[in-house]
Symmetry: C2
């Protein structure tokens, strides 16, 4: 029997064994080796965690690593609390408190048993409720390796629609809690991304830089998976970055059966599989049958892997609530299967963990294939592309992104003002809220509506807590008194307005006189056009020097005013230019009503004559009548580009077979490949003024857009779209796209960002690692656009930046489309059992967002510079704080309060910024510096950058800085990752990496290579 023939049989068996429905698998595995506090990690002399604790694989046997695990969604069909407590059982039988209790009881009783736990959000909730006795017992289990934390983030984050900063934060916060509790033995070694719907390269890079040794994936394209199994390349060395070299490469293993146990071996109270019945007198005695079925299964699985080790995921969603059922039967499985070794069976089964598996595989010492791209998009069958969630719940996605913006500000302000004791509960609330939001059913939009509302509630509470911090911090900074004399009673109210996106700010409704404090979280001076919704006729804006700034009043578009739920008397937005805001600092502006009328007059259209927004070097040309974009000039080079809104009809099926899959929260499946035009009769009005020109275009009652150009130093056009309530009276769900058509010769290629950092090349109807067969021509070409999608034509680059993740693609050369909103009437049968039909105030949900069009030359770096810089400003925008000042004049204000502050003594080099500045422990902070350019992206900025930390910060000096891995939980010098031999080895390493001498030169002058992030725990000394 030839190879082909054998393979076909194996594949048939595999298909039979593995395919139990619509889903397909992926996973991740990584590892770390030392603890992470400012103090040198305490030694656990009596501990035997980590690789030392592993049961050794037997040579000459097929070593079957049984990995007991539970997958605890941090919200999905139920809220986080409901999952934790196990309430609302009728929705889903799932109670994390019981799972943890139950597993620990089992582990206590038998040192052979092992378990991994992943989601620190739940873990911590549980831990906080335990008595010291229990805690002590648990520590023993962690120290002897029975209980291993894996991945260890606050949640198992999504990889498609998340930003790298939030991923790093949520992992770091999880690690921190584990470190505080368990020290070295609590450090995760392995990435465990078993459920997210596709996998980003940046995630692999982050894990690698966190010192992980491996990554397990549960879900990847079914064709990819098939191809990998056929070629025994389900395990590989993933090169996670084009910039970071070996430091970002990571051993990656694709799980065989998602994260499920072999069919028939789910011994959970949630499953109906048969237990071992080992009473030989029973008519139901089944040991021989089960053993033989198991052996068949593992021998089949082993065919597709290249070592004599295989891993079985013995668990699933919220399994192990009754852990005893599992372990009792797994004990029997091990006993009865291994007993066959005396009959020459080669199967050797034992309790293991993913890290022990990685260790065993590593010890085999073979050479691995490599991978350079990512695992997007994820398809589980020919008609099921998980590309809908790239856009699902656009407003929640934006709220999350704003959350990151504010969290960073909150952390910075907290640190800069030495606000209080470490681990402030207030700050943690937002840290944790953002950790939860990263979950792969949170920001993804794939949760139930009630759960989405609860996420919003939790995040909102985080905003409120951070609001308190910000107010306290800014009060400290503006006070002319000594810090110690400032009490909360004296505090000046410093409030955020979370509804500025719909031009509503309640604080201003009753104030004709107020102070706007604009905080800039970036490490460079930033200029920002401030927009404030107002109801008065005219205003005066004064900067700290008393100088009156130019202002412009721009009408709020009617569709915004009419958004259901908007309650505001404001009809105009006051615009002024906050120039050169200090880095990590703020400037306050005093605004008061005036009688002088400052209306922006409507621009008088000249029929037939295009409207030009911008200048000769950079502009956009709009049709005089419809406002349609016609062309743009980037760096004096004109190209033709139009923009219009279309919609896809969501496919409606009964989900009973692949081919009948509905478009839903997860899945984007258009009914037909043609997008339909929203309207052919657009109407537009243009407003021009000193600061900004904007054209308001209305497609229909539910779709409009403002095209906007700010006049000073601007290299982008802003498009603020408004979509919704999407009409569904025709019983057809609709997925709305903004499509740009240009004459750029893009040659089937386009580029999307990976979690907001590095760019990946995409090619239409193509996958880099296998010959793809596409039955869904639209959705199969969708990719997550976390922050940016780019076309290139020769030296020209044209990018669209987004303010949140969206699905995007280029279906034809020169074209780009981004899906901005979707409203569907059918479920796509992946468990949510609800249609993605968001409503608010009794109407379909309205979403508002922004696209920024920018670009330039590639070779000169203008494209990169504009895009990177804008990307930073979108991610970490200046934040507006408002203070009513009705009873206080400018003069009084300026005499009482400081109006400007910078946290830095000087700006950082343009290619570097402070990614993280947050309070850590005692007198230490966590500091991350980031090089924001890729290699070869810019002639100057792509070069390494050097920063001296010593006198970087104004309020404090850095006494000591010690570098850690990216997660902040391990001294970099103590991180020793496995070395892997690969077929396509990378020939460079980062200078800080693999360098044993790095401890010696911990001078405060540090250098960063392209895309490098360096993490430090710094001890600081506040200057009084």
């Amino acid at each position: 029997m030839g190879w082909l023939c054998q393979t076909l049989i194996f594949m048939a068996v595999w298909c039979f064994v593995v395919h139990n429905g619509f889903t397909t698998p992926v996973t991740d595995n990584i590892l770390i080796t030392t603890p992470p506090t400012a103090k040198p990690p305490s030694k656990h002399e009596d501990s035997n965690c980590g690789y030392e604790s592993c049961t050794k694989a037997k040579p000459g046997k097929l070593n079957v690593h049984l990995v007991p695990h539970t997958h605890n969604d941090v919200g999905w069909l139920k809220t986080v609390d409901q999952y934790y407590y196990g309430s609302k059982s009728s929705i889903q039988k799932a109670g994390v408190q019981y799972i943890i209790d139950s597993v620990l009881t089992e582990l206590h009783h038998d040192p052979e048993k092992r378990f991994i736990y992943v989601e620190t959000a739940f873990w911590w909730k549980w831990w906080m409720n335990q008595h010291d006795t229990i805690r002590h017992q648990v520590k023993k289990l962690v120290n002897n390796g029975q209980l291993e934390f894996i991945s260890g983030g606050w949640s198992m984050n999504d990889e498609a629609v998340t930003n790298y900063q939030s991923i790093i934060d949520q992992l770091t916060w999880g690690f921190r809690k584990l470190n505080d509790t368990f020290g070295k033995c609590g450090q995760p070694h392995i990435g465990w991304q078993i459920d997210p719907f596709g996998h980003s390269r940046e995630m692999a890079s982050i894990f690698a830089r966190m010192g992980f040794d491996g990554l397990f994936l549960g879900r990847l394209d079914y064709q990819d998976k098939m191809a990998r199994f056929l070629t025994k390349t389900a395990e590989m060395v993933w090169q996670g970055s084009e910039n970071l070299g070996k430091a970002a490469q990571l051993f990656t293993s694709v799980l065989y059966n998602n994260y499920a146990p072999p069919p028939g071996f789910c011994f959970d109270v949630l499953c109906d599989d048969e237990p071992f019945i080992d009473d030989k007198h029973s008519p139901d005695y089944n040991v021989d049958t089960l053993v033989s079925r198991f052996v068949d299964y593992v021998e089949t699985q082993a065919i597709f892997y290249s070592t004599n080790n295989i891993l079985l995921t013995m668990g699933g969603d919220f399994t192990y609530q009754e852990a005893h059922m599992w372990y009792k039967n797994l004990d029997k499985l091990i006993r009865y299967v291994n007993a066959q070794q005396s009959n020459n069976s080669t199967v050797n089964v034992f309790y293991s963990t993913p890290s022990c598996y990685v260790k065993a595989v590593h010890d085999v010492g073979q050479t691995w294939t490599t991978k350079q791209d990512d695992f997007f998009p994820y398809a589980s069958d020919p008609h099921t592309y998980w590309t809908g969630f790239y856009t699902s719940r656009p407003t929640l996605k934006r709220f999350e992104r704003v959350g990151n913006n504010f969290l960073q500000i909150c952390k910075q302000l907290y640190s800069l003002t030495d606000l209080g004791p470490e681990d402030s509960v207030d700050l943690n609330k937002m840290r944790e809220a953002m950790g939860i939001m990263q979950h792969h059913d949170a920001v993804t939009g794939t949760e139930r509506q009630k759960v989405a509302s609860d996420y919003a509630r939790v995040l909102f509470e985080g905003f409120e807590e951070c609001g308190i911090i910000a107010q306290a911090a800014i009060n400290k900074l503006i006070a002319n008194k000594k810090q110690s004399e400032v009490s909360r009673v004296d505090a000046v109210p410093i409030k955020s307005c979370l509804l500025l996106n719909i031009s509503q700010c309640d604080i201003l409704d009753y104030s004709n006189q107020f102070v706007v404090t604009v905080y800039n979280p970036l490490s460079h001076r930033v200029s920002h056009y401030v927009r404030v919704p107002v109801s008065g006729a005219s205003y005066t804006v004064q900067d700290p020097t008393g100088k009156q700034l130019k202002i412009q009043l721009v009408p709020i578009p009617q569709p915004v005013i009419e958004i259901p739920g908007r309650v505001s008397p404001a009809t105009m937005e006051l615009v002024f230019y906050a120039k050169d805001l200090p880095p990590l600092g703020f400037r306050s502006y005093y605004i008061s009503g005036s009688n002088h009328i400052h209306h922006t007059s409507k621009y008088k259209i000249h029929p037939g004559r295009d409207v030009i927004l911008g200048n000769t070097k950079f502009n956009a040309v709009l049709d005089w009548e419809t406002g349609s974009l016609k062309s743009m000039v980037l760096d004096r080079t004109k190209f033709s580009v139009s923009q219009d809104f279309y919609y896809y009809k969501g496919y409606i099926g009964d989900n009973k077979e692949f081919v009948n899959r509905s478009s839903g929260a997860y899945i984007f499946r258009p009914n037909g490949s043609e997008a339909l035009s929203v309207s052919s009769t657009k109407k537009s009005s243009t407003y021009k003024g000193d600061l900004v020109d904007e054209t308001h275009i209305k497609w229909s009652d539910w779709l409009s857009q403002v095209v906007r150009y700010y006049k000073e130093d601007t290299y982008h056009v802003e498009m603020e779209w408004l979509a919704g309530p999407i009409p569904v009276d025709d019983n057809v769900g609709k997925e709305i796209i903004s499509r740009f058509k240009s004459d750029l010769l893009s040659d089937g290629l386009f580029y999307t960002d990976s979690n907001g950092r590095e760019m990946l090349e995409r090619k239409r109807n193509f996958r880099p690692t296998w010959s793809v067969n596409i039955k869904e021509p639209v959705s199969a070409n969708y990719y997550p656009v976390t922050s940016r999608i780019t076309l290139r034509d020769g030296d020209k680059e044209f990018s669209i930046l987004t303010d949140r993740a969206q699905g995007g693609t280029s279906l034809n050369n020169g074209e780009v489309e981004l899906m901005v909103h979707r409203r569907l009437l059918h479920d796509d049968a992946f468990g949510v059992s609800e249609a993605l039909n968001e409503t608010a105030f009794g109407h379909g949900l309205v979403a508002i967002g922004k696209h920024w069009l920018t670009g330039g030359n590639i070779s000169s770096g203008t494209a990169a510079q504009r895009t990177r810089s804008l990307q930073q400003q979108v991610l970490l925008s200046p934040w507006l704080f408002f203070t009513p000042a009705d009873n206080i004049s400018f003069t009084e204000w300026v005499s009482h309060y400081k109006m400007e502050f910078s946290g830095l003594n000087q700006e950082l080099p343009e290619n570097v910024h402070i990614l993280t500045l947050e309070p850590w422990k005692a007198h230490s902070f966590l500091l991350r510096l980031e090089h924001i350019y890729e290699r070869n992206e810019h002639p100057v900025f792509s070069k390494p950058a050097t920063v001296n930390l010593k006198n970087l910060f104004k309020p404090f000096s850095i006494v000591m800085a010690r570098e850690t891995t990216l997660g902040g939980n391990q001294w970099l010098s103590e991180s020793h990752r496995f070395k892997w031999q690969s077929e396509n080895d990378i020939n460079f390493t980062l200078e800080d990496d693999e360098d044993s001498s790095k401890e010696d030169k911990d001078a405060l002058t540090i250098t960063l290579g392209p895309m490098q992030i360096r993490t430090f725990i710094i001890e600081v000394n506040f200057l009084q």
Copy 2:
């Protein structure tokens, strides 16, 4: 607000709270105080079990006893093994192994926690699989009272269709295992009959005589329950016997909510109730709501009980598989509810057990009402009378009864021959099979078909094991060699034929010459007409002396020959008279084919002249043409009596409301109150001979009957009915009854036995303790007829005895009907989800059985004597063993083997018999003597009887006899039951009872009062 008004409000609340569906509650509580082995019970000096371990009730508080429990059906929807292992989860999520494991883990962790366990069949299965370490831990839990065994039988037996002997056996066997394992602390104190479908008085009597202190009931008539709650008489002193006085009275408590927890407080993995969410920051925080709901509930419940204690059953069917969920939330319940005491709440909640509750209630010291009748029939709503199961699965019911017959023989033979080591596995198999059969979903016929088949398998295996014992024992007894020289190799085959009821015995198919050994398990000489199916033309039967007996060959009725599945060449039955079989002994008969033709000729009918079966003193008169019964003579007094078969159409409903209940396995609900005639055109043939006259009557293809009269010393007419396959081509389920109409003036009264012992008076459309409102005129008058139903008219008594339990009633004066078979096409929605539609070999199931018509004078005692004697012979019939003897002549046989044996040196007095003789431990046996007459039933036999045990048995002498409680697990002298004050106190006690001096006079001469059973552990000395 007056009392009535308050009561109405309370009732409304109660209805709202309690009624969650169709079911209604009952329970039992009893207790014992010392251990039960032949040796004085070992002292557990360090133990703190029993009442001493109870949490004390607080005076002035409402003391809420939380009783964590699980109800583990010993088979129902799944088989015993399937329930034990938790397999077939898709049928029902239930795994007893996990329940026990899980509960014990919880108990270990907290000494406050308590649990009760009931079903020893499961417990023992679990215990046998445990390591000594675990066993040791469990003993601690039992010794400190955390784990309490309650009821303690092998199963929770049904009370309607079970025979007292099997109930006693199954409880005794359970107790034995508990005693062996745990000693004193393993002794059950309380009866816990929370699920059986109505309650017999005999059961209360048995529990009382077992030394129990209380009984809890879950299910009783909904009207009864309502009435009791309204009058605060849900707790009472039940007077369990009209013969046994105080010894049989028992405190009985009706549970409030069946055996379920308060609505909303089921913290089980099988339930969906909300857990305590006590994180005040959670939007789902619910502590205040739950506490207030709980307090409302218990305060309402308390209204209906008369002490300041109430019991909450915190559990249900197969709950506690994940015990931790329960206890974690119950801990919180206790904590948060009791915390309210500081706010003047009077509610005091704590972990408790039924025995602790009984203790607390007893200590209140109040006077209780009494009850003299029983709790049959059970109705859960106006149309739902649980009277169908009295007949459901008639063949399984009969198989169970035959099982008891053979088990007693097996035990006797084992004991009489000193067969082997104690606790023989072989004997236990049948003990345990019969223990399982008593379960309230086994012999009741309310299990699924597959489970019924499994019960039959288990019971059949019990028969096989007992067959091996019987063969070994009889071989020892017949051997002329010394016992020590008899080996199994030499053994003569001694086989049973289990299909004699359909005239099939495979052993005889190929033997023309064989020995029939007839074993008599009764303690008196018994004469028996032996019937053997044969295919030869004629036979010679020789008794041990060589004397040829009279024989008669009777044709096997054609309907029997045609029964689907019957495979036998036999067309005739050979009848001979085995006169005066020795007590506890046997006689063998040698049978050989002969050429002499012995055909019974068909009786020549004389048209118009009645067929008379019997003699002048006792006879039955049949119509010459149809064979219909016309009249009978009892003691020379004639009365008119006819018999015919009818059927009720089973009601068909969708079960969505009470009124739409279908007739089903549990429920008998005829469609209309009139029974329809099976046939108006019967055909009959009569056969007369020297030994027996019989008339074969055929109603239809599926219904026939033989009316039979044996000629010597006979005071009964035997009717052998055959019903089935019941036709259902018309899609109507049918329930077949045999109805007797007589001219007896029964005045609405009739009498049925209670578990085969005492008789209870029944009155049509009446209940003794409340004014009943009947909407189902037929089924509401059905009662379980375990062995006998009786009419009286003046001094005349007419009884029909059954060979198994059947439903029966008297719907009109002089009438009696018994339901013999039922086949239904719809489920009655109590969980089985199958229609009771039994089939075999592709046809509806055929059932064959016997009714015996007897009676006589009441005052002279002839009625009682005939009935009691016949009842004994039906229950413990002579048993036929067969041995092929083709190669051995009578002369050879008689020279090799003894052909007669008696275990007794003399018969017992006619009113006493040996109820139990079985191997116990080491050289001890368990012996029970029973007085088989009630008080005032017979002028002579109702008097006390005296027996000297010393030389009673032939093979051994009794060295020592020590009396125990009925369950054999406690020295009678050490049993000290609670004393209860009751309104209607009984004025007599049994002489052995309440007598502290009984130990002193343990001479071997014992006296038994009417209906008394005395139990002894005897030490014996075998005579060689």
